[in-house]
């Protein structure tokens, strides 16, 4: 019974993922695209939960969907008056080449998966209940992956400074323009 529920939830979440993904790519209005991406992130959060990554699911919703996408929406609103340019344009072969490349990548991944399914992907490891919990993640970050932790924080700092610099430059250009 529990198994069936999991499967149903899985299908809903996966379907939502893919549907919103297609929506992001195909909508003409960037606002709708951004909203679709929020939906995508939410579906992904559900999938994360199914994979015992609770902390990450929370982080996804809070940070990604909550902060990053809101930032996106702000910008889209700021610029939103401009209509999105249609799909077409560029070299004539571009569309077919892009489709071919994307399909090639997909097919390759599927093939690799297929080849490896039997060996690597059938028996997931037994994990404790605290797998993916904040405590475990925190412990891993501060012991095994301390360097990654620190460097990531520096990256964020740099991004913040960069944002400020870009903002200041923009103001100066506003004055001269």
């Amino acid at each position: 019974m529990g198994n069936v529920l999991v499967w149903v939830v899985w299908f809903l979440a996966a379907g939502g993922c893919l549907a919103t993904g297609v929506a992001v790519v195909s909508m003409t209005n960037p606002f709708y695209s951004a909203l679709s991406l929020i939906g995508n992130l939410a579906s992904l959060a559900v999938l994360f939960l199914l994979l015992s990554a609770e902390f990450l699911a929370a982080a996804q919703v809070l940070v990604y969907a909550g902060a990053v996408m809101v930032m996106f929406l702000f910008v889209v609103a700021y610029l939103g008056g401009r209509a999105d340019a249609p799909w077409a344009g560029g070299p004539p072969l571009l569309r077919s080449a892009a489709v071919v490349a994307a399909v090639a990548l997909l097919v390759e991944i599927v093939v690799v998966l297929g080849l490896a399914w039997g060996d690597n992907l059938t028996d997931p490891a037994e994990v404790s209940d605290s797998f993916g919990s904040p405590a475990e993640i925190g412990e891993a970050f501060l012991t095994d992956h301390l360097l990654a932790f620190e460097i990531t924080s520096i990256v964020l700092l740099v991004a913040a400074v960069g944002g400020v610099v870009l903002g200041t430059t923009r103001e100066k250009e506003e004055e001269t323009a």
Binding site: G90, L94, A97, A98, L105
Partner: protein, 627 residues
């Protein structure tokens, strides 16, 4: 005594370097003195070496002195080494002695020329090169000397480089000598290949071990070089043109020393030639042909220097004849006496030319006997010696050669004998034609005009050497009196054992015939001159002889014109379209390809993104396959 040999070799080089480095800072006279003194010091060194050798035990008369190893490649080595033996000591004396006299003479002859310093530097360079040639202990050093004398000859023939004829003559001499240099070099390469060494003594030891083909080829190569350097037929056309150079140059290089280098080589490499008798006899035949042809052409020349030049060619023919049949001693003996009387003739001709303000055409001369008595005496002595009248020097040497060919006792010997005798007649004819035309009779109008602005008969620097050579041309032959004493022949025999010996009767018998023929020639010349005619009256013959048997024209048509046409054709069809344009086209092509390739850089981000996606797809396949 070896030290003497080294001093002899290096003193003229030091002189040349000193003059070159001195440049404009030394006066012209100083340059002349440096050159003269360095040559006389060389003579001193040669004398020391000679005396030391003479005093030494006969078994000790072959000394090699090595300075250092010049080249080394694997087992093969070439050292800077000199070989001092009876042959080389004799040549050293001749070169430095006669050379010294001629350089001294040129101090007077070239006085006032703007470029005297260059002249004396070249003269010292030449003396050094010739000494290097005769003293070399291995074939490579010999070849170096060989080439350097060719260079010095080129520089000195073309000394007056504002004269286009001089420049052309210098080029001609150099190119024809280059042919000889090439065959010589090929022979040397063959020697390295077969014997592994170029040392003279080493090669001579190994000669018997060589195959007949090898030895014949080597001998041919050496003969080619000798023929070119000594202006024998067929490589002789450069010598008459070389008279464009100053007269002392003609005396030194084209009479006494450089052109005799070929004879020296034939004698020095006698072991090789003896192992290749056909080639040796070829040398004799070429010598015989040359002595006849050159003698005939000398009968119709009008330029005083050219007559003497053809005479040189003819006399060297005698030397080749001697070396070719194995009479090495007589070949070198004739080289010695020839150096004396030919240099004498050139130098006195030079005094005449100098006195007449540069005129060389004998038709304008005449009756100089009264106006230039000392020069007349010198020229007369030279002519008598050349014609082979006893007791002058030429008599002893030339007749020895003719007698030796008689002693050969074969068909070849008989032919050579006949040629030698006819040559004696011809020599008498052309020599005395020259003498009578220039010095006898009444002074011509030209002479009367110009003889006043001469500078007397010449300064001391010109008269003394001429005087010395006059004496030498008279008594120089007395070192060989067949049957009585032959120290010179014995001396040379120690290095090159002769193949033929004429008996004393044969010798004197031949002499009698030869002298009579020479006297006959003299008489005919006298009577023709008195009658105001020429020796050759047939206009056809005259034209052929005057054009030197049309050989110059033949060579021009055979070699020069095709080469010129080929080079023009190559230039037009290969150089311009292919080489020159291809460079332009490579440039243009590169730019074009660049332009095409640059179109890939469209600047469109999306195309780049597609490219990246494709690349990743390919890489995935690669990684999967590798795993």
């Amino acid at each position: 005594m070896i030290a003497g040999a080294w001093v002899c070799l290096l003193s003229p080089l030091a002189g040349a370097i000193a003059i070159t480095l001195g440049g404009g800072r030394i006066s012209r006279r100083t340059a002349g003195w440096i050159s003269t003194l360095s040559t006389f010091i060389a003579f001193g060194g040669a004398l020391v070496a000679f005396l030391g050798l003479w005093a030494a035990d006969p078994s000790d008369r072959e000394q090699v002195s090595t300075a250092y190893t010049w080249l080394a490649s694997g087992d093969f080595e070439v050292d800077v080494q000199i070989l001092l033996d009876t042959l080389s000591s004799t040549m050293m004396l001749i070169v430095s002695g006669v050379g010294g006299l001629i350089v001294w003479y040129s101090m007077g002859y070239m006085a006032g020329d703007d470029e005297e310093r260059r002249y004396f530097a070249y003269m010292s360079l030449f003396v050094f090169s010739m000494l290097l040639l005769v003293q070399a202990g291995n074939f490579l050093l010999l070849l170096v000397g060989w080439g350097l004398v060719g260079l010095a000859s080129y520089l000195l023939i073309g000394f007056w480089h504002h004269k286009p004829e001089a420049v052309a003559a210098a080029k001609k001499a150099f190119v024809m000598n280059a042919i000889g240099d090439a065959t010589f070099a090929l022979a040397a390469v063959l020697l390295i290949w077969e014997t592994g060494t170029l040392e003279l003594l080493g090669v001579f030891e190994d000669v018997d071990a060589l195959s007949t083909t090898t030895v014949n080829l080597v001998a041919l190569g050496l003969l080619g070089g000798a023929v070119a350097k000594s202006a024998q037929i067929p490589l002789h056309t450069w010598l008459p043109d070389a008279m464009e150079g100053p007269t002392p140059v003609s005396a030194l290089i084209h009479a006494a020393t450089m052109v005799t280098a070929g004879v020296y080589l034939l004698v020095r490499a006698s072991p090789i030639f003896e192992a290749a008798p056909d080639v040796q006899h070829l040398a004799a035949v070429l010598g015989a042909i040359t002595l006849l042809v050159a003698g005939a052409i000398a009968l119709v020349q009008w330029d005083i220097k050219r007559v003497i030049a053809y005479s040189t060619m003819s006399q060297i023919g005698y030397m080749f004849l001697a070396a070719g049949i194995g009479a090495y001693g007589y070949a070198i003996f004739h080289l010695l006496t020839h150096a004396f009387f030919k240099a004498l003739l050139f130098m006195s001709a030079g005094v005449v030319i100098h006195h007449l303000g540069g005129e060389q055409d004998i038709r304008k001369m005449g009756g100089l006997r009264t106006l230039m008595p000392r020069t007349h005496l010198a020229f007369l002595v030279g002519s008598l010696s050349l014609a082979g009248i006893p007791i002058f020097a030429g008599f002893w040497s030339k007749d020895g050669i003719i007698a030796a060919s008689f002693a050969l006792d074969s068909a070849l010997g008989a032919t050579l004998y006949a040629a030698g005798l006819i040559g004696a007649l011809l020599t008498g004819l052309y020599t005395f034609r020259l003498y009578f035309t220039v010095f006898r009779g009444e002074p011509s109008a030209f002479v009367r005009e110009h003889a006043h602005d001469g500078h007397g008969e010449g300064p001391l620097s010109m008269l003394v050497p001429v005087g010395v050579l006059t004496v030498l041309a008279t008594i120089g032959g007395l070192v060989v009196i067949p049957g009585v004493w032959e120290p010179f022949l014995h001396w040379i025999d120690e290095t090159a054992e002769p193949l033929v010996h004429a008996t004393v009767t044969e010798d004197y018998g031949t002499s009698a015939i030869a002298v009579s023929l020479a006297l006959v020639g003299m008489v005919i010349a006298w009577r023709t001159f008195r009658a105001g005619r020429q020796l050759v009256t047939n206009p056809g013959t005259w034209r052929v002889l005057e054009h030197k048997l049309y050989l110059d024209e033949l060579y021009d048509a055979l070699f020069y014109r095709p080469a010129a046409a080929l080079s023009v054709a190559l230039r037009r069809n290969v150089e311009e379209p292919v080489v020159e344009r291809s460079l332009d086209e490579i440039g243009a092509g590169t730019i074009q390809v660049g332009g095409e390739v640059a179109r890939v850089q469209s600047g469109l981000l999306r195309t780049y993104a597609v490219a990246i996606a494709f690349a990743v797809a390919v890489l995935v396949v690669v990684f999967v396959a590798v795993r």
